[in-house]
Amino acid sequence: MAAATGESRYRDSAIGRFLARFASTLKLMARNRVGFAGFLLVVTIVLFSFVGPIFVPLDETVRVSQIYETPSLSHPLGTDSEGKDVLSQIIHGGRPILTIGYLAATISTIIAVMLGSLGAFLGGRIDTGFTWLADMVLTIPQLPLLAVLAGILSLNSKLAVAGLIGALFWPTLMRATRAQVLSLKERDYVESARALDLGTPHIVFREIAPNMAGYIAINFTLAVTASMYAVVGLTLLGLVPLSQDNWGVMINLAWTRGAIFSKDSIFYIMSPIAAIALHQFGLVAMNRSLSEVFDPRLRRGS
């Protein structure tokens, strides 16, 4: 594959390579139809929630005469207890939940992978210490703990909420990561890396961890779903003082404002639930495509 023409010079540039990788990754994901559908679903919902608000203003008008209306052309998902349009609320309501969900998952994944990999690779007292820490966090019932801590600490930013959730959700992934690393550590190519004196950070993060990338990615998506449920749960319990309306708040309001007792309010209740559920389903379905992406043996051609 000798680089000869000017065309390949472009292809070799950083942007070119990135785009090429991106395109081939998409192609790989497309190999599994269910997975790709899930991926598209997630992308759609994320775009709706982050880009949508730019185009669709949040309906703040109170229309007392139009409480809990059924869907119509002007209000495709009906109205809420104050006559406000539900669809605009759904579009605006995703951002905080999704942000916290992804952020919390990122935090817990980073903690889990670092502690799991280093502990397994270095062994000895470091490993015992990390495992002990994980066990401690794991044995405490998480949602009640979350509720108590949320009540005590002042969670006035999305980062704080995400951090709290992330700090409690890492142990399971950490143990799974640790088990994987313990096994991968015995592989011949890791032994060669040791013989070549490539150094612990290189071995852990550039030889072992990438072989777990698929595993980590799948667990990351599961962490996102778990974190989103956690933040919705906290919101439902009224423990998260977020001022904007979001999907969690909508469910909370449906409960506190008696929407669950009225037949017509079904769209108000189901819309945020459906939005959350669709996103989770998309993530879970997407996992099937992720294994295609991350296993080089399944790739064909270069």
Partner: protein, 350 residues
């Protein structure tokens, strides 16, 4: 690059303790001189792989010392320790596990070159990678640069393994069964590459194998060490060990090996063993570990003391057998306790 001998001095490796202790390697001593080939031969569980790893610094001996240029490796200053670790490299048996599946050939070879700053620019890196691929016969190199391991055949992967070992300019390569999982018709090609490295670059080899015929071919000008249940039972030049084996275990191995020649193999005289059972490492018999199966077993002589590696010493050809020592006129090398036990046993049966 100076070439120094690497010596294993009464090296052992234990697992567990007390009655549950397994002595995977038990008091083994030998030296690899610069540029020589030494084959470690034995069946599974004999400790040859463990010995190889201790020589490569990948496992610490539970007892004894590994000496690099005369100094204990575990006590070397960091700088020297680094040099030692790079001086001994390893090639593995399984071509499907020896390379990281997510990296391509260029990445695999570049990592050590970059890490140890053995190249100063991208073009130098590229040239070095090309050179390495050509040394191991993967030509034209361009065809292999971007390939991932699963796109290569078993033999090609082994060659990449060899190239990787060469990146740090090693003095010794520990080759752990490098051809056993490669097609028969391709083995010699791979072995020839290793032999060329020995000739051209002066690399020494600790070649671990269970196949005596391969060991004989590879190490014809070198030495063979035969291991059994963690101990070295015979050590000497290949030509002498293969043609005039001293230790009964070596003789059993040689006689048991099937040959790719019907007339030869069907008429070969087979040494009969006393028992088919292989003792477990947890429950070794007293004295010589081979005695329960040994056709030359003598009560008293063989089950009292464990024979030393040099119970027989024929001008550098060593064997751990007292019966052989007696037959070869080296009785003075047999310890008192065994000689007494032997004569008592003889008196009892007389």
């Amino acid at each position: 690059m100076s070439r120094t001998p690497i010596e294993l001095e009464h090296v052992s490796r234990f697992y567990g303790s007390g009655s549950q202790q397994v002595r995977a390697v038990d008091d083994v001593s030998f030296t690899i001189e610069p540029g020589e080939t030494l084959c470690l031969v034995g069946e599974s569980g004999c400790g040859k792989s463990t010995t190889g790893r201790m020589m490569a610094g990948l496992l610490e001996p539970s007892d004894g010392r590994v000496l690099y240029a005369g100094s204990d490796v575990s006590k070397l200053p960091e700088e020297e320790k680094k040099r030692f670790r790079r001086a001994v490299q390893i090639i593995h048996q399984d071509p499907y596990a020896s390379l990281n599946p997510i990296r391509n050939v260029t990445q695999i070879l570049s990592a050590p070159l970059r890490r140890h700053k053995l190249v100063k620019s991208r073009s130098e890196l590229r040239n070095k990678v090309h050179e390495l691929l050509e040394t191991v016969g993967l030509t034209p190199p361009e065809d292999f640069l971007r390939k991932h391991p699963h796109e290569l055949s078993g033999g090609q992967r082994q060659r990449v393994s060899v190239a990787r070992a060469l990146t740090v300019d090693p003095e010794v390569i520990v080759a752990d069964e490098p051809v056993s999982m490669v097609d028969v018709s391709l083995r010699i090609g791979l072995l020839n590459i290793l032999l060329k490295l020995q000739q051209d670059l002066g690399v020494a080899f600790l070649f671990i194998t269970h196949d005596l015929a391969v060991a004989k071919h590879f190490s014809w000008e070198g030495r063979i060490g035969v291991m059994y249940l963690g101990r070295m039972v015979e050590l000497g030049s290949t030509q002498r060990v293969v043609r005039e084996p001293v230790h009964p275990y070596t003789r059993a191995l040689i006689s048991a090996l099937p040959e790719a020649d019907p007339g030869l193999t069907r008429n070969k005289e087979r040494l009969r063993l006393r028992s088919p059972d292989i003792p477990s490492l947890l429950n070794l018999p007293a004295g010589c570990p081979f005695h329960p199966r040994c056709p030359m077993y003598e009560e008293g002589l063989c089950d009292t003391d464990r024979p030393a590696e040099d119970a027989v010493d024929l001008d550098g050809h060593l064997a751990a057998c007292y019966v052989a020592a007696r037959e070869l006129g080296q009785e003075d090398r047999i310890p008192e306790s065994s000689r007494i036990a032997a004569s008592e046993a003889r008196r009892r049966t007389a």
